[in-house]
């Protein structure tokens, strides 16, 4: 995979959850849509826009977390124990993963690991799940569930692996 240069902590450029993720499309409705939808539908869109504006969305929290991680984890040995700097390709792949997250799955917390990977963490309903993506696109998950340990890996090739979606639905209790 070729390295994609990212600008230094310009989070809004590298993280565009609002731009056009189909599964998160509720955030992208704009006035230009008005000619395409009926008045009734447009009212619904406007209500959704108001809701989005008045309730700070999770993607704002994620951008803040990512900014903190860039600030804290960009140098060698940032954790005091030989940690590698946060890997920008891992960050890009995690952003791509998050864009494709189905709407019924909540956004995770973000956390850097000493190997340079950015990881996503869900702590919910007795689950403590960590999912990371390395710079080769390998998704590796590990953690605990009410029934014991859960772990595995798969390839992330523009789609979230089915196995990972299933685990996330279990975490959410939506399946």
């Amino acid at each position: 995979m070729s390295a994609i240069p990212l600008p230094k902590p310009s989070i809004s450029d590298s993280v565009n959850w609002r731009k056009a993720p189909a599964s998160r499309a509720r955030y992208v409705a704009t006035q230009s849509d008005s000619g395409k939808v009926s008045n009734e539908l447009w009212d619904g869109v406007q209500k959704q826009r108001i809701k989005t504006v008045t309730t700070p969305p999770d993607d704002v929290r994620l951008e803040r977390e990512l900014a903190d991680i860039f600030e804290e984890c960009s140098s060698e040995g940032w954790n005091g124990y030989d940690a590698k700097p946060i890997d920008r390709e891992s960050v890009q792949l995690v952003c791509s993963f998050l864009e494709k997250l189905p709407v019924d799955i909540s956004y995770p917390e973000l956390c850097a690991e000493p190997n340079g990977e950015l990881t996503m963490v869900w702590i919910k309903r007795g689950y403590h799940l960590v999912i990371g993506i390395d710079n080769k696109g390998k998704v590796a998950w590990g953690g605990t569930s009410p029934s014991g340990r859960i772990y595995g890996d798969a390839k992330f090739e523009n789609e979230i692996p089915e196995e990972v979606i299933n685990i996330l639905h279990s975490v959410e209790g939506s399946r």
Partner: protein, 131 residues
Amino acid sequence: MSETSANPADIASRYIYSKNDYSSNGVKHSAFVPPSAYPNELSVCIISNLPEPEIWKIGAETRKDKPIKARADMLVSAVQEISDEQGGFLQVLIDGIPHPRHANIKNLPLQISLQRVVATELAKKSKLTMS
């Protein structure tokens, strides 16, 4: 110096030098993920029977270039209960380098997904103490 197994009743502490590794909810799993260069061990200090100022002093002297932020304390027996998925369990071995109370958690799995399992288990079993 040869390594000796820590007493299960002892308390081991992992010093935390980055705010990435803890939150208001406690210690994060990342505090217990080993670096790629040393994937099979995690550095800790046996702090049993030490006064608080001495505990912090050891952590500060170990990494003079980074201010210590917090520490994760855990019972050695709790660490030793964690399976390595190879039929064994984690160990806490005192090596005395660079400090007489220095130890390493050993037998960590090499597979990254399993490292994440073990890291979440260690995080759950540890108590966060802020500096």
